[in-house]
Symmetry: C2
Subunit: 364 residues, 2 copies
C-alpha cells in the first residue's frame, strides 16, 4: 500500500514538468509579469479551490474558525519556476494589516527566493513588503543562463495575488516539484514558522531543502491543539509519514485527552505510515516565570506519557523525538516562546537526523 502511493507520488514529481509552457504576460517597462498560477505551486497537502490556502476549509467544516483562518496563511507554500532572466521581481498582495511584534515583515508577509546551484538550494534574495500590495525587486545583476528558482510565500498572511517579474527578453516556465514524497508536519506557531527571519527559514522548509523530501507545513499559530475535527482532517490526508509537533498549544490535560485520538485515527486510516511525535516545547519565558515553567513541564510529561501508553497498547511505527532543543544558553528565542533562526538551527540539530533515519527505514 505504502509503496504504491510512493510510486504514484514519484511519478508526479518526475513528470509534472511535462506540461511546461513558455509564458509571456503583461509587460511593464522592461519587466514581464507572469501570474504565479501559471507556474508550479509546491508545499500543499492537497489541492484547494483557493490556490494559496493550505487546506480546503470548506471541505473540513467542523474545524474551529481560527484554525480555518490560519489555513489561509501560505506557510510552507512555494512557487517553482525556471527562467533565464538576469533579474527577478514580484508583485503581490496580502491581507493582514499588521505584523506581529515578534516577526519581521519579510517573514510575515514577504517572499524568499532560492536558486539551485550545484544541486543545492542557495539563498538569492527577499521580497520586502512595503504594504499589503507590494512591487519589489528580489534579485538583479545575475549571470546569464537558466536558473531553477524556488520562491517561498508568506508565513503568516494570506496571498490574494502573486505575479513574478522577469526581463522582457527572457523566458519563465514552470519547474517540476523538486521535492518528492509527502510528510505532513502538524504543529503550533513554531511549526508555522514564528519567529524565523524569512519564509524559507521555517523548519519544515529547511528540512525539505536539505533532504529533498516534501515536508508539508500544517503549523497553526496558537491553535495546534489536536482538535478532533483537525485530527479527522489529518487522517483523511494521504501522506508517507505524519509528524506531530503539537505539544506546545494544548494544556497538559488536553494533551492527555487528545493525543490518543489523534494518533489512533491516523493509524486506523494509514496502517503502515510512520508517525513521529516531537517533544518541541521549550519556553525560555519559563526561565524565571514559574507558572510557565510548570505548564511546559506538564505538556512535555503528558505528551511522552501518551506516547508510552500508545506504544504499550500496541501501536506500531510510532516514534518519539526529544532533546535539548534550543541549546543551553537560553538565547534561542525571539520572545521567550518562538525560536529565532539560531533556535531553529538547534532544533534541527536535534530532530533532523532521527527524522530522516526513521523515514529512510520506510523507504521515504
Amino acid at each position: 500500500m505504502r509503496m504504491k502511493t510512493s510510486k504514484l507520488i514519484l511519478f508526479f514529481c518526475l513528470f509534472s514538468v511535462a506540461s511546461i509552457s513558455y509564458l509571456f504576460a503583461q509587460q511593464t517597462g522592461s519587466i514581464v509579469y507572469v501570474d504565479a498560477k501559471e507556474l508550479t505551486l509546491i508545499g500543499k497537502a492537497n489541492s484547494t479551490p483557493h490556490l494559496y490556502h493550505r487546506i480546503d476549509t470548506l471541505q473540513y467544516q467542523g474545524m474551529p474558525a481560527v484554525v480555518k483562518e490560519l489555513f489561509t496563511n501560505s506557510a510552507g507554500l512555494g512557487i517553482v519556476f525556471t527562467t533565464n532572466s538576469n533579474a527577478i521581481s514580484a508583485r503581490w498582495s496580502t491581507v493582514n494589516p499588521k505584523t506581529g511584534s515578534n516577526m519581521t515583515a519579510i517573514a510575515h508577509k514577504g517572499l524568499d527566493l532560492y536558486i539551485k546551484r550545484d544541486g543545492k538550494w542557495i539563498f538569492a534574495g527577499v521580497g520586502r513588503p512595503t504594504a499589503n500590495s507590494t512591487t519589489a525587486q528580489i534579485v538583479e545583476n545575475m549571470e546569464d543562463g537558466e536558473k531553477e528558482c524556488l520562491l517561498y510565500l508568506p508565513l503568516y498572511d494570506e496571498i490574494k495575488r502573486l505575479e513574478i517579474g522577469v526581463s522582457a527578453d527572457s523566458f519563465i516556465k514552470p519547474s517540476a516539484d523538486p521535492f518528492c514524497k509527502k510528510v505532513l508536519v502538524y504543529g503550533s506557531s513554531i511549526t508555522q514558522g514564528a519567529s524565523a527571519s524569512r519564509p524559507g527559514m521555517a523548519y519544515p522548509a529547511r528540512l525539505s531543502r536539505k533532504s529533498g523530501i516534501n515536508f508539508i507545513n500544517l503549523g497553526l499559530s496558537g491553535n495546534g491543539k489536536m482538535h478532533q475535527p483537525v485530527a479527522d482532517m489529518l487522517s483523511d490526508m494521504e501522506a508517507d509519514a505524519y509528524i506531530l509537533d503539537c505539544a506546545a498549544n494544548p494544556s497538559p490535560d488536553e494533551i492527555t485527552q487528545r493525543t490518543g485520538y489523534l494518533v489512533k485515527t491516523i493509524r486506523d486510516r494509514h496502517p503502515d505510515a510512520p508517525i513521529i511525535m516531537i517533544q518541541s516545547v521549550v519556553r525560555e519565558s519559563g526561565n524565571f516565570d514559574m507558572k510557565i515553567n510548570k505548564r511546559v513541564s506538564g505538556q512535555n510529561r503528558n505528551f511522552k506519557l501518551e506516547f508510552e501508553k500508545l506504544k504499550s497498547a500496541g501501536i506500531k511505527d510510532l516514534y518519539f523525538i526529544e532533546g535539548e532543543l534550543l541549546g543551553a544558553d537560553h538565547e534561542g528565542t525571539t520572545d521567550g516562546v518562538h525560536p529565532n533562526d539560531l533556535g531553529f538551527d538547534r532544533i534541527l540539530d536535534v530532530i533532523e537526523r532521527p527524522i530522516l533515519e526513521i523515514l529512510q527505514q520506510y523507504g521515504i
Copy 2:
C-alpha cells in the same frame, strides 16, 4: 597611561553602586513605576544631555545629520537594577512610526530583560511594543528573592521616556554597572544590531554578557562610513580598545581614502590602546547578484590592504580579524545583508575568541 585609565574605570565600576537608594514612585494598581533615570544606565561611551542618546551630537557638530540622528537610537544601552519583585513591567515611549521589514518590532522599539543566575545573564522576557507608547508585562510569577536585572533598550529607535514597574510591596534600586573596562565598537547596521531578533542579541551586547567587558555599540545603520568628523569624535573618546567593524558601508574607494585617517587619528590620541579591524562584510545578496558580489570583494580587499599599509607604516597594536563569518550554508541573514541570530552566532564563533585574546594581552 593605560593602566591609570583602567584603574579609574574599575573604581567607577565597583563603586558607582555607592549612591544606591531605595525607590518608590507612582503607583498604578499593585504596580509601582520608577523612572529609569533613577536607576543605572549602562552602555554609554560618555554622558550626554539626553540620557538615552548614545552620543552628545551637539558636542560633535561636524557629523552628517543622518549620523547624528542614528546616535539618538538607544542601541546597546541598558538599565541595570535590583528588585525583589515577583513581576517586572515597563512603560516606554519611542519615536519612529515604522519598523523596518527586516527587523522585529521587539528589536526595533522593544525591550529585552536578562536576570543574573549563578553568575550568568539569563534571558527573562521581552517588552513587546504595541505602538510608540506601550505598557507591557515583561516577566511575572517569579520566585521570591533579589534579582539583578539588565534591561536592554531598543536597537533602532529613540527612547523618550522609560519607567520600570515592580510590585507595590517590593523594592527596586540601581545596580552597579556589571561590565568593566570600555571597548568602543564602531560600525554599520550589523554592529547596531540589524537583524538580531531582540535588543540583547546585537553582537556587542552578547560579547559584553559573555566576557563581562563593556562593549559600547557605536553602530550606524548604513552610515558607518568613516566620515572624518566621526573619526575625530571616536578619537576624542577615552577607551581601553577600539574595534573598527566599518567596511560594510563605505565604497571600496572610500575605504582606501578613509581607513588610514581613522586609524591614525585614534592612534595619535591613544598611543597604547589596541585597535582591532574586523572584515565583517558578507553579503548573501551577492550569491547571485554579481554587482553586489564585486562591491563586497572590493570592500574586503581594500580594508585588508589599508591594514597592511598601516602595519608597514609602523602603526603598532593594530589587529585584523577575518574568517568565514556567516558559515557556509548561506542561511545566516534575514535579507541577504543583515545577519539573523544564526548569522550573528556564527560571527561570534569567528571574532569572539581573537578579540578577547587581544584584549587580554592588554590587561583588558
